[in-house]
């Protein structure tokens, strides 16, 4: 790039007309940011720092995170956690309660048994699933608000915040942008999307909704987003085939098997990305009828449901914002 082009592009970024775009690899996925405004570059780096901090707090894979410490102390006693971890766990348990266990952060022992994401996934013997189910269930998780501790009563129990942490991270990112005066930004944390404000031309951001029956990048339609988050759960993301049946990665904590509802993929839209993240899993597991009923208990939470028969159901508040693909 020659000097004139370089200066011109820096100048337009400074004026907020050109986006600062970043692609970073963290939280085990690809994070993309598109940020407009005078302080766009600084905001994007600050968001990155924030996500790195959250990964060091919430990852179940890195050692010494709050989550790893809780799991290592399963059966041994309570563990002090940060206020943020506590807040996320409280929200997780609330959604677990409201969804009657369709969303559950304690499926670790089952996930290990199925090892869906490993190189040797397998359908475990029924007895092994029954045994693992003894260790699973959100009601086992004990939170002590006063001491701000979390404990798991039995050895071998494990928490995984994979179904809620990216949502929390997206919410934090949006707070950072707004705190720095950014009025227009889009962050995508591995398919978990948050749109801050609208695009600089005043038009809403447009997010494609992944077609659960198509190839990656194929979309069933687009959603207009403005100060909102969209989070998708689907049984197409990861899985394996055994004896002609498809087994995906979303394990129903109540049965021990991967969930078999009438939903192929569901996208939940809300202002609160953590809520949208947890609810998308809950609705996917519950199925259309009970899932939609759960969503109705929340204000301003909407969804696009793609059913197994490929029919699409859009809740009232999204009808004007969803455009089906041609």
């Amino acid at each position: 790039m020659n000097l004139v082009d370089d200066l011109a592009s820096r100048f337009s970024t400074l004026l907020g007309k050109r986006a600062v775009e970043r692609l970073d690899l963290l939280m085990g996925t690809v994070v993309t940011q598109k940020v407009y405004g005078r302080r766009a570059a600084a905001a994007a780096s600050r968001v990155l720092g924030e996500l790195q901090r959250l990964e060091r707090l919430l990852s179940a894979f890195l050692p010494e995170t709050d989550v790893s410490r809780i799991n290592a102390s399963a059966g041994l006693g309570p563990v002090d956690v940060s206020p943020e971890t506590f807040e996320i766990l409280e929200m997780a348990l609330r959604i677990s309660e409201m969804s009657q266990g369709a969303f559950d952060v304690t499926t670790g022992p089952l996930t290990r048994l199925w090892s869906v994401t490993s190189d040797h996934p397998q359908v475990p013997p029924h007895e092994a699933i029954t045994a693992a189910l003894e260790l699973v269930g959100f009601r086992h998780v004990k939170l002590d608000r006063e001491r701000r501790t979390c404990s798991l009563p039995m050895r071998g129990q494990a928490i995984d915040l994979g179904g809620i942490a990216k949502g929390y991270a997206a919410d934090r990112a949006a707070q950072v942008y707004r705190g720095m005066g950014v009025r227009s930004a889009l962050i995508d944390i591995g398919g978990n999307v948050y749109a801050v404000g609208a695009r600089p031309d005043g038009q809403p951001w447009v997010a494609g909704v992944q077609d659960p029956k198509g190839n990656r990048g194929d979309i069933v339609g687009t959603l207009k987003l403005k100060d909102a988050s969209a989070v998708t759960s689907g049984g197409y993301e990861r899985g394996f085939t055994a004896d002609g049946a498809w087994y995906h990665h979303i394990i129903d904590a109540r049965s021990g098997y991967c969930s078999r509802s009438d939903i192929a993929g569901v996208t939940v839209v809300a202002r609160d990305s953590m809520l949208a993240d947890a609810l998308s899993t809950a609705v996917f597991v519950l199925g259309t009828e009970r899932g939609i009923r759960l969503l109705q208990e929340f204000r301003g939470v909407e969804a696009v449901v793609v059913k197994e028969d490929r029919s699409i159901l859009i809740t009232g508040g999204l009808k004007a914002l969803f455009s089906p693909a041609q």
Partner: protein
């Protein structure tokens, strides 16, 4: 728009190799570090990641601080995967869709990400 394309290209590449990776403790525990596109010079960069039988070699093209192409040069788990190529082409064709991003298209392939990171690192100036 570009980030959408890059994200989807990554997702498309990852799609074909999902099953063959992950699970291994070491790969799972591995952290993927950030690469600042603003500090990348134009060029085509090679990156590799190898652990046990997981081997990825990628070629990443960068122009004007944007990733313009990612190719799996040699994937021992799934050699010469036609499906990947078709998906990349399909994604590139979708540039006309005017979508900022795609919700529900996740990328989980850490070994592949590491290879891409290693490629981009070699292009960081300074």
């Amino acid at each position: 728009m570009w980030k959408y394309i890059i994200g989807v290209v990554l997702a498309a590449i990852a799609f074909g190799v999902f099953w063959s990776i992950g699970g291994q403790g070491e790969i799972k525990a591995m952290s993927i570090n950030d690469v600042d596109l603003a500090s990348l010079r134009d060029g085509t960069y090679q990156g590799a990641f190898s652990k046990g039988r997981w081997t990825y070699n990628v070629s990443v093209a960068v122009k004007d601080h944007r990733i313009t192409a990612i190719k799996l040069v040699d994937d021992k788990m799934k050699p010469a995967d036609k499906v990947n190529t078709e998906q990349i082409n399909r994604v590139l064709a979708k540039q006309s869709l005017k979508v900022d991003t795609v919700t529900g298209a996740t990328v989980n392939s850490k070994a592949l990400l590491k290879a891409i990171e290693n490629a981009l690192k070699s292009g960081v100036s300074g």
